[in-house]
């Protein structure tokens, strides 16, 4: 046995590793099965109890494609022509004609709209600086400026969509940039087109909202806290007089007496901080109708868009008590820019407003010195600076960013109010959950049936050889899923088809080897020599045929999109896994068996 030790270890290690990668998928499956068995309130409680586990396993499991679990995929394209149109100054009839022409060209061409626009201007002998920047600027300058604006518009569009999707609470959304001007949004489990339309298609709303005074906020939160405590303790009434306030309370005790403050820590600035793990819980609380009654009608709680790392290494989100009515809307902003303040070497964001906005702004800031005004995009707070003085002339400066990156984000957000990125939905696919379940059932049924038939056939036709080949098929399946889990891959219906095909390829490799071994045995070779020869001679055929399949897979992955890529991915992984299991693993079985008892080995 000693001489096989290395190979056995390699195989055992790969099997264990695959199982390790697949463990979260299994756990996730178990947890959702348990959750499904519970009803209504119980299942909610179950989710609360296992929140961290569920999140952890979710992250590492094999994801199911939208075709299997239902959901929606939307491809957005930033309408660069509209952007170019919006950015232009001194628009005239000639400009309108150019834009009209470019719009038609864009529909037919793959060229970037900015290039087409420039080409059209040049064709008509119009200088770009007539409409953009300063008259002295060259066409190249303007061209770069427009390209840059187009790029920024895509970033802005992504930020707007991400912000909304985060608030919407979709689990595992995927938002990616595709090429220069496109954004792919995938929302598993979402099937309501209208909501998604709002989610991605609506114009962004940027508002400036005053925060409620800390005293008011404190009063409201205390009210909520007391209300929750009284509700919880109705079953076990407590005599509060017995508790001396001097004694340090244990966290459990505190949580019992202050159910709200235990998860939403109140700060001096009149806001609350909530750890990421409790965010959903607090959100659910604030949504309850009996809690809503405790919040004044002119106030609402808004979340910070981004979390911040606390001292304990956890991510904390801020809960802002804001006024419901906006002081000013973002349409008045004309420009925003993130820079480093040369005097203090601190990141700052400067913001310009139009005349009308400036007038309003000076009134608002003048009346609210030392109060905080939140910058709110689609209901999430990106910053809540304190007003230091009355701002006249519309030129404001926002400080207090941690780094330039944060400043850049604020710049994007402020511009989203000034220049909403015009996006078109160019592709939208939705699969209802019932169709997804149906697809899974049929996919698994056919995969199972096909595998069973193949396994049976192999055993009947090749006897021991067949059994070994069947083991190889099982290992192969395990490896494919393991690798898929490791890379965070997505399993789609075509992906399942890809796996079935790879299993066929794995079987083919063994068929090639066994047929060769049979031929060698017929020439009168000993079993051991026939096995050696069979493996050696079959190898080149297996290699060449697998390489060609591999090439097809790679090309498919490159040029395919969405579901086809899923197929290509499993095919690529499968080819590698099938060669390993069909050649390397089966060989160990035969070597050990021929060593121990030659009569065990039989190729039918």
């Amino acid at each position: 046995m000693r001489k096989y030790r290395f190979r056995v270890i390699v195989v055992a290690a790969s099997v264990l590793l695959s199982m390790w990668f697949l463990f979260p998928t299994y756990q996730d499956y178990e947890l959702s099965a348990q959750k499904k068995a519970l009803s209504g309130a119980d299942s909610l409680q179950f989710v609360e109890q296992h929140e961290t586990e569920i999140r952890e396993y979710r992250k590492k499991r094999i994801k199911l494609g939208l075709d299997l679990q239902g959901g929606m995929r939307v491809v957005l394209e930033v309408n660069v022509v509209s952007l170019i149109e919006k950015l232009a100054k001194n628009k005239d009839d000639a400009f309108a004609a150019i834009i009209k022409e470019v719009r038609q060209q864009v529909a037919r061409s793959d060229e970037s709209p900015v290039v087409l626009f420039r080409g059209e201007c040049e064709k008509r002998g119009v200088r770009l600086s007539r409409y953009y920047l300063n008259l002295r600027d060259t066409d190249d300058d303007v061209f770069l400026f427009l390209e840059d604006e187009a790029k920024k518009a895509v970033d802005r569009g992504m930020q707007i969509v991400r912000n909304r999707v985060d608030q919407y609470g979709v689990s595992e959304p995927s938002i990616q940039k595709l090429g220069g001007t496109r954004i792919i949004v995938e929302l598993p489990g979402v099937s309501n087109e209208r909501e998604v339309q709002d989610l991605v298609g609506k114009t962004a709303l940027l508002e400036f909202r005053l925060l409620k005074e800390p005293e008011v906020a404190a009063r409201v939160m205390e009210g909520i806290d007391k209300f929750l405590a009284s509700k919880d303790s109705t079953s076990t009434p407590e005599d509060t007089t017995n508790i001396t306030p001097e004694v340090e309370k244990t966290p459990e005790q505190f949580a019992k007496e202050h159910p709200f403050f235990a998860i939403a820590g109140f700060t001096q600035q009149g806001v609350a901080t909530v750890a990421e793990e409790n965010k959903d819980k607090v959100r659910r609380l604030l949504d309850r109708s009996d809690i809503k009654r405790l919040i004044p009608s002119d106030m609402e709680f808004l979340w910070s868009a981004k979390g911040q790392l606390g001292q304990d290494g956890k991510k904390y989100f801020t809960l802002y008590p804001a006024k419901k009515a906006a002081e000013l809307e973002g349409g008045v902003i004309t420009n925003a820019r993130a820079t480093i303040d040369p005097n203090y070497n601190q990141p700052i964001v400067t913001m310009e407003m139009n005349t009308e906005g400036s007038r309003e702004w000076s009134r608002i800031t003048g009346a609210n010195i030392n109060k905080r005004i939140a910058i709110v995009l689609d209901q999430s707070v990106f910053s809540a600076p304190v007003v230091r003085s009355k701002i006249t002339g519309g030129h404001s400066q926002i400080e207090g960013m941690e780094n330039l990156e944060e400043g850049k984000l604020l710049e994007i957000v402020l511009k989203a109010g000034a220049l909403p990125a015009p996006v078109d939905i160019i592709e939208q696919r939705s699969v209802g959950p019932s169709l997804g379940e149906d697809s899974i059932r049929k996919g698994l049924l056919s995969a199972g049936l096909a595998t069973l038939l193949t396994i049976l056939f192999m055993v009947i036709y090749y006897r021991t050889g067949g059994i070994v080949a069947d083991f190889a098929v099982v290992f192969c399946m395990l490896f494919i899923l393991g690798v898929l889990a490791y890379f965070g891959g997505t399993l789609t219906l075509p992906g399942i088809a890809g796996i079935i095909l790879t299993l066929a390829i794995a079987v083919d490799a063994n068929v090639l080897i066994y047929e060769r071994i049979r031929e060698e045995q017929e020439t009168g070779k000993t079993l051991r020599a026939a096995i050696d020869e069979g493996y050696a001679k079959a190898f080149s055929a297996i290699l060449d045929s697998n390489v060609t399949t591999f090439i097809t897979g790679l090309i498919l992955f490159q040029f395919g999109s969405g579901p086809v890529q899923g197929f290509a991915l499993t095919l690529i992984i499968g080819v590698a896994a099938s060669m390993f299991s069909a050649i390397y693993i089966t060989r160990i079985f035969f070597d050990i068996m021929t060593d121990k008892n030659q009569s065990l080995v039989n190729f039918g």
Binding site: R429, S430, I555
Partner: protein, 306 residues
């Protein structure tokens, strides 16, 4: 167990007959392509497509008149798996979900007492459709070229040519069959979608896989039987690999049949193309790929003699 013992079939003797059969199949396919054409799906045409699941079975004709009334006289309407599931598709384009909403409304007003849910809704802009189409052609083209180059590199140039011709043959035959069989029975929707393109590329992979195994045997026998004539050598190799060819292709065939029957509506076009592909792929390895090598050599010999 053994299905095939040693065989000594003179495969190549009948090759002219099979050229004729291939030519006939391809011609039939081309005629169908010209007359009937291919049925491009929404992926490539753009438009809006809804799959509506009714509570009770409905008549296709009823859905059609509902759509006519709603202003979608050009809409394509067919069943999607069962008679409760109806696919409605139009190439009309509209902003947002307007087209989808109109279709929904049309269905709702007509089938007041038969509640329905939309289980699938796709909307593809015309630009995306054109791009997907281009990418699909590129994918098929590049994989053919890459495979041809690899085979030419691993074997000899003429083998690469043989493999390439065989692949073109397989793709042509399959496209022809897809065109002929599309819509022959109400449940057979063989439209060209992204999944269908994946099927074509798999077919290419499987077909070349089979060809390579035979070429590999020819390459090996050539080294052993140096004095043997090419036709005899190829025949010998074909006979030696016959058992494997039948077993592998047979296994894959069964797998695909299972996928076709049980895999659901979404997979049916995919598995149909592959069922055709595995048959022509197996056959073309012998009568197209290997035969090309023979023809090439005979022509060279004739030239030398002349």
């Amino acid at each position: 167990m053994r299905v095939f013992g040693k065989t000594t079939i003179d495969f190549l003797a009948y090759r002219k007959v099979f050229y004729f059969i291939s030519a006939a199949l391809i011609t039939a396919g081309i005629v169908s392509l010209v007359v009937k054409g291919l049925h491009f799906g929404i992926d490539f045409l753009g438009g809006t497509e809804l799959v509506v699941e009714f509570t009770r079975e409905v008549e296709i004709g009823e859905v059609r008149s509902a759509m006519d009334k709603a202003g979608f006289g050009d809409a394509e309407i067919k069943t999607f798996g069962s008679n409760r599931d109806i696919l409605i598709r139009t190439v009309k384009q509209g902003a947002g979900t307007t087209i989808g909403d109109q279709i929904r409304e049309g269905v709702a007003t007509h089938f007041k007492d038969n509640p329905f849910t939309v289980i699938k809704e796709d909307k593809i802009g015309p630009k995306i459709g054109a791009e997907l189409q281009r990418d699909a052609y590129l994918a098929v083209f590049f994989s053919l070229v890459a495979i041809c180059l690899y085979v030419a590199f691993r074997f000899k140039f003429v083998y690469g040519v043989g493999a390439l011709i065989a692949l073109f043959h397989d793709v042509l035959v399959t496209i022809g069959m897809v065109s002929i069989f599309d819509g022959l029975t109400p449940n057979l929707n063989l439209e060209i979608s992204q999944n269908m393109i994946a099927a074509f590329l798999t077919l290419v992979g499987l077909s070349v896989n089979d060809t390579v195994v035979i070429f590999d045997r020819i390459r090996e026998n050539k080294k052993i039987f140096r004095s043997m004539g090419l036709v005899e050598l190829i025949n010998k190799s074909l006979n030696e690999t016959l058992s494997r060819t039948i077993i592998t292709s047979g296994t894959i065939f069964v797998v695909l049949i299972v996928l076709f029957v049980f895999g659901g509506e979404v997979n049916s076009g995919f598995s149909f193309a592959l069922v055709v592909g595995i048959i022509t792929g197996t056959y073309s390895s012998i009568y197209i790929a290997s035969a090309t090598v023979v023809e090439w050599n005979e022509r060279k010999a004739r030239k030398k003699a002349a």
